[in-house]
Assembly symmetry: C2
Homo-oligomer: 141 residues x 2
């Protein structure tokens, strides 16, 4: 419990965001166990309530956005309205289940190594590449 909060606080500090009561609670839920995870505003809201944390949905939205802007969360865009956020901010591919809307990391690596994007084009004049999103859409067989 305490380890989770400590980890969360360190994470907040890394992002240079103010450590309020609700942010510390959310941070603990997000990175408290050292595992990476994917959340949506709604899912994090449920989790928070389940843990007895008193945080409004609006604050969850504001907070997820603040964390993303601070660079400690990464927004993953897939179909289906909802925004997903990933505690792993490094470039990595995702599986997306089209039927349930669930998002999962591509953990298992193929025989030859990690998923990688080859032959990335040069960015157009006056632009830089902010990131590369790779989403593998899955359908039940």
């Amino acid at each position: 419990m305490e380890a989770a909060k400590r980890r969360g606080a360190a994470w907040l500090e890394a992002g240079g965001v103010r450590a309020t009561r609700q942010r510390v609670a959310l941070a603990a839920l997000l990175v408290g166990d050292g595992e990476h995870r994917h959340v949506t505003a709604e899912s994090l809201f449920e989790t928070a309530r389940a843990h007895g944390e008193k945080v409004s949905l609006a604050t969850i939205y504001n907070t997820l956005r603040a964390f993303t802007e601070a660079g400690i969360l990464r927004e993953i865009t897939v179909d289906g309205g909802k925004s997903h956020f990933d505690t792993d901010t490094s470039n990595h591919a995702h599986f997306y289940w089209e039927d349930t809307g669930e998002l999962a990391d591509v953990r298992e690596r193929a025989a030859a190594g990690d998923v990688e994007v080859r032959n990335l084009p040069a960015p157009p004049e006056g632009a830089r590449i902010a990131g590369v999103d790779v989403v593998i859409r899955l359908r039940r067989a």
Copy 2:
């Protein structure tokens, strides 16, 4: 003008969707010139109005969805609420301008060839890969 309609009609037929007046008009705008293009519901609506076509926004939405389900359009998901649709249904990478929300094909190929995703993982048990989306997010330098 006629060539555009002919092309549009053929395209509709390829998808096996009913050729109504508004669909033929939209198809002509989408693929009439043989070029691929990206549209949003809103942008297609504007284009249609600009060409004097009488089509409601709701129908644009329904139609884009119908075309996508028929496999003659591909939905591209990027940040920012709006859904984009691409007349090029093949797997190909996109540039996404974060500031304007514009979408562009990666046309220019790097020295070594086309953009490609290497070491694609095997899909989880009971799933098949429905598609792979590669979005290169661009920020003004």
